[in-house]
Symmetry: C2
């Protein structure tokens, strides 16, 4: 039997879940029986003294520094997040733990997305482990799956943010954006300040971590667009397309001829695709391997118990690695993929214009798209059937074109209109998912 002595930094939602699991006799017995590893809560620390009261007195620690220095701690489990937006404490704790020869487990997607390269290379140098299953999509074991994959990965994409998926699902049920957001907050699926979720930052951090693992690239130049430009009208129009769709916030890392597309954006996903059926706060990771083909993993992406369970799996994994004295991190490939300018990637597009319904408006838009930018229109509709002279929506589906070209065409339409009668007031362009 191998004891794994855990030092727990941070007793927030996930941290309290982990301490409860570590103190739960049934949980521990099951792990001991199955894996011959006994995880124990050796030390815990939180800046909030009240939270420490839930910890048995003998395990309470006075400071993070003491916890790191304590020879009774084998594994430092860092769950402090980024207090006040500050990446430094968590990064320092992880590096400090490795410095002292201790294993690390973390759920810190922000810090790993930013400083993971450094943390991982320190761990590899010292043959130490970093467990970070809980940093991406909560309960879904995607980190472990990618760590153990032997196939060449073609793409890693999916729905990595539960808050926005909940809001999009509810907008598809005819709720307004703000009502859906408030509901998500009431249900605990959105934070008081939901900016990081709504603007795609949270999804981009997770994508950066997965892209590093699957493709060995730094993902700092990651392009991202959130869901603030989506309204329930788009979800309604999506359903009426000839290939009916729904809108999802998709994080996408995908190879194109040796270069990597890397971005987060709202995407029209055909209803026939499995990702379209991933509803509410559920997360999904879509992986395509050269040999194994497409796979989808779905599950709870957040929440105390699902995330704490991922941390517990990591603690056991690290415990088993400790016996071998080897890191649990796969080595890096030498090959470095180039990250594609997102403007260079071709997609079919869903376009939506707000326009005054006067004769010729569609022709003017079509003229700019087709004649000037060689973008072929597959369908064009005015779904509202509004009377002439009234504001109306125009919905257009195009053949595949580069995003950069599409943006230029939309800018041109805007420019023409500014000079003229302003009959076209606004526009949006969402990629249409082509399957992978």
């Amino acid at each position: 039997m191998e004891y794994v002595r855990v030092g727990l930094l941070g007793l927030g939602t996930i941290g309290s879940g982990v301490s409860e699991a570590l103190l739960d006799g049934g949980y521990r017995q099951r792990i001991e029986k199955r894996y011959g590893v006994i995880p124990v809560l050796a030390r815990a620390y939180d800046t909030d003294d009240e939270k420490l009261q839930a910890i048995p007195p003998e395990a309470r620690c006075e400071s993070a520094k003491k916890l790191l220095d304590d020879p009774e701690v084998d594994v430092v489990v860092e769950l402090i997040g980024i207090p006040g937006g500050d990446y430094t404490p968590a990064n320092d704790f992880m590096l400090g733990a490795l410095e002292r020869g201790k294993q690390v487990v973390t759920a810190n997607k922000a810090v790993l997305a930013q400083y993971g390269e450094d943390i991982f290379s320190r761990a590899r140098e010292k043959d130490l482990c970093v467990g970070f299953e809980a940093s991406v999509c909560g309960s879904i074991p995607i980190i472990n799956i990618l760590k153990q994959s032997v196939d060449e990965i073609e793409s890693v994409s999916g729905i990595f943010n539960g808050t926005t998926n909940y809001i999009l699902t509810r907008m598809g049920e005819d709720l307004d954006y703000m009502d859906a957001l408030i509901e998500a907050q009431q249900k605990g699926f959105a934070e008081a300040d939901p900016t990081s979720d709504l603007e795609g930052i949270d999804a981009a951090q997770k994508l950066a971590i997965l892209a590093r693992l699957a493709f060995n690239i730094r993902a700092d130049a990651l392009s991202k667009e959130g869901i603030t430009g989506v309204d329930k009208g788009d979800l309604g129009y999506a359903r009426t397309l000839s290939n009916p769709c729904t809108v999802k916030l998709i994080a996408m890392a995908k190879k194109h001829d040796g270069k990597l597309e890397l971005g987060v954006y709202p995407v029209m996903v055909p209803e026939s695709h499995q990702l379209a059926s991933v509803r509410n706060e559920t997360n999904a990771v879509y992986v395509v391997g050269e040999h194994f083909g497409p796979q989808i993993y779905t599950g709870k992406g957040a929440g105390k118990e699902p995330t704490a369970d991922a941390v517990m799996r990591d603690i056991v994994d690290v415990g088993r690695c400790m016996a071998t004295g080897k890191t649990n991190l796969p080595a890096l490939n030498d090959e470095k993929l180039e990250v594609l300018d997102p403007g260079e990637v071709e997609y079919p597009f869903y376009l939506r214009f707000s326009a005054v319904n006067v004769p010729g408006v569609l022709a003017r838009i079509a003229g700019v798209l087709g004649d000037m930018y060689k973008i072929n229109i597959v369908s064009a509709n005015q779904p509202g059937n509004n009377p002439q002279g009234e504001p109306a929506d125009i919905v257009i589906v195009t053949d595949p074109t580069k995003y950069g070209n599409m943006r230029k065409a939309l800018d041109e339409i805007k420019r023409v209109e500014k000079k003229g009668t302003k009959i076209v007031a606004g526009s949006k362009a969402f990629r249409i998912f082509d399957g992978a």
Copy 2:
């Protein structure tokens, strides 16, 4: 660097995929770089001499016995299946390999379902590994996920057979059963003799393997029903239910108050459930954990490359374990779950009767169900709107009742009709999926 010297038994579809992967420089380099393990094809054997010609001369072996005895082989990869329905050779080879202190990797679901207990306990005794990821749902890493899970598993279920899922999908697109089966055969999704798939035997074998891993039970008493009783009419009616459904062949291992439901049967799955969107030959595993909640994994369940990739993952896993001298099998729990009589499990039901449309026929059926067996009817319809005196279908949805009770009610309806006017000619009862 650790060399893992593979002895490959069987060069059929999967075996040739594995030998190609082992001889593929790119594949090997990637593995070497990432994991510090170098898998090499040391020996190969097949009863078909022609297949051996694809193997480099120095690796060709004259017999299985020689391969097992060869000190140049670390891992025996058994991919011979059950030639002529005979479980003995594969079972003997696996036990023989373990006897000689060699690691084992296999894709043999039939032999593991039947003799896995023995094989695993021998491996544990000698601290050897058994890799069997490829035995269940091809590319989906469900064995590894369950092996590494620390949570209490509540249920493991899903769509484990691609042939039947393909046929059901096509029947939902209005193809007749036989046409769908022939199409599946033409596309290579069904074997020339599809009995094992159609009657649920293949799915039951996979379920037995997963149930042993998740719940530590022997699954020989597994009740199974295939899709031979499903026709395209059921798929059509499924869509018209007030909660629209589709028919899937579901393998189910689920805890109910400390006892385990264990069976394979055609089930009405609500279209809103993610399993309903798993189409064609795709497989899906649905796992519910006490803490992590529901998760679904989907991917290719068969085929040369996806399955060979699963074998390759196992070879690498075994290679890494070899360094530690420990088995990769989790220990068994002491706790033994009791397997529930499937008649004891409650479900809501979809019932379909073929009947002559005469006044009172519905009342007679309803009478037996409600008055004699206390089965509440939620809805009853004659979807065809047939004229009186003509044969017609009656579709009934019930509240949850025990399957045993429902079977008795159907037998009673049959018995009454035999004595009387034979206006009710046939009946079927499919469980309606309640979410997990």
